[in-house]
Symmetry: C2
Subunit: 147 residues, 2 copies
Amino acid sequence: MFSPENRFRDYLKKKGLKFTPERRLILKKVFSLHGHFDADKIYDEMHKKNRKLSRATIYRTFPLLVESNLVKETLRCQKRANYEPVFGYSHHDHLICINCGRVIEFRNDLIEHLQEKVCKKYRFEPLEHRLGIKGYCQKCAGKRQRR
Amino acid sequence: MFSPENRFRDYLKKKGLKFTPERRLILKKVFSLHGHFDADKIYDEMHKKNRKLSRATIYRTFPLLVESNLVKETLRCQKRANYEPVFGYSHHDHLICINCGRVIEFRNDLIEHLQEKVCKKYRFEPLEHRLGIKGYCQKCAGKRQRR
DNA sequence: TTCTAATTGAGAATCAATCGCAATTAGTAG
DNA sequence: CTACTAATTGCGATTGATTCTCAATTAGAA
């Protein structure tokens, strides 16, 4: 009963917006990629499959997906905005290579637990957190040494 | 003996670069602000004080300040790149109240340590990390309950 | 089936950041 | 101190991502 599409339809209806073929396609593509994506990625994938749709539509659809809590924007490492699905995926944090853009996902329960403790200490009620570590991945760190 | 300027001079000399008046001015401004800044902030501050210098020079100087470990780029959540000084400032993370905007700074060495361990595990060379927890501060959480 | 507000695509506009180039200059070597 | 040269500057043009404008189209309620 619960699927990204259902949630998206509900959200759109509640807002008086329409569930168009374009929005359905973008939604499907987003959830078929199983990972991070950006506007260009979606654009290219669509055009590869011969389904043309404009960049404007893609850029207009992303905020709706975020608002309906289906995806979230990740900490941006480069210039372009990057997203990842949240519906059906569990929480994790990121290592972001500032050279090649590679993103390594990790989950550390002890860190999560300590965050909760910090919140308790300050009587802070957490809703969401982001932990991003920027640096060089193994490959790029190696290349740097050799310079 | 150790000052941002000394460190910057050393860095520039080591790289065969020059310590120009423009670079000195930018450096001074950056460290007189005691907080986050971006290219436009520096540009405006300069022009307020009647010291004109071009945006290009500012954009060209920031990477040098980062490379010499005087400032760091914060993980960007908005469009424009944002920086903060590191020389003379100690690391901290943030609890951010999404209701009143209050920012609580905290430091937890165990979390820091665990982050290092994660990096080691993935052979990732960390340069900078940012942990932000969004939610409600004590005051605002209280108000919410009563609603 | 009708009607209307929402949506689309295409291209123009915007905004941050970078680049190319001619004129200038810091700082080293005499 | 002077000459020299590679680095630097400002300017304006350029790039690249994203947003906007607007006429034509369409989802979906009535």
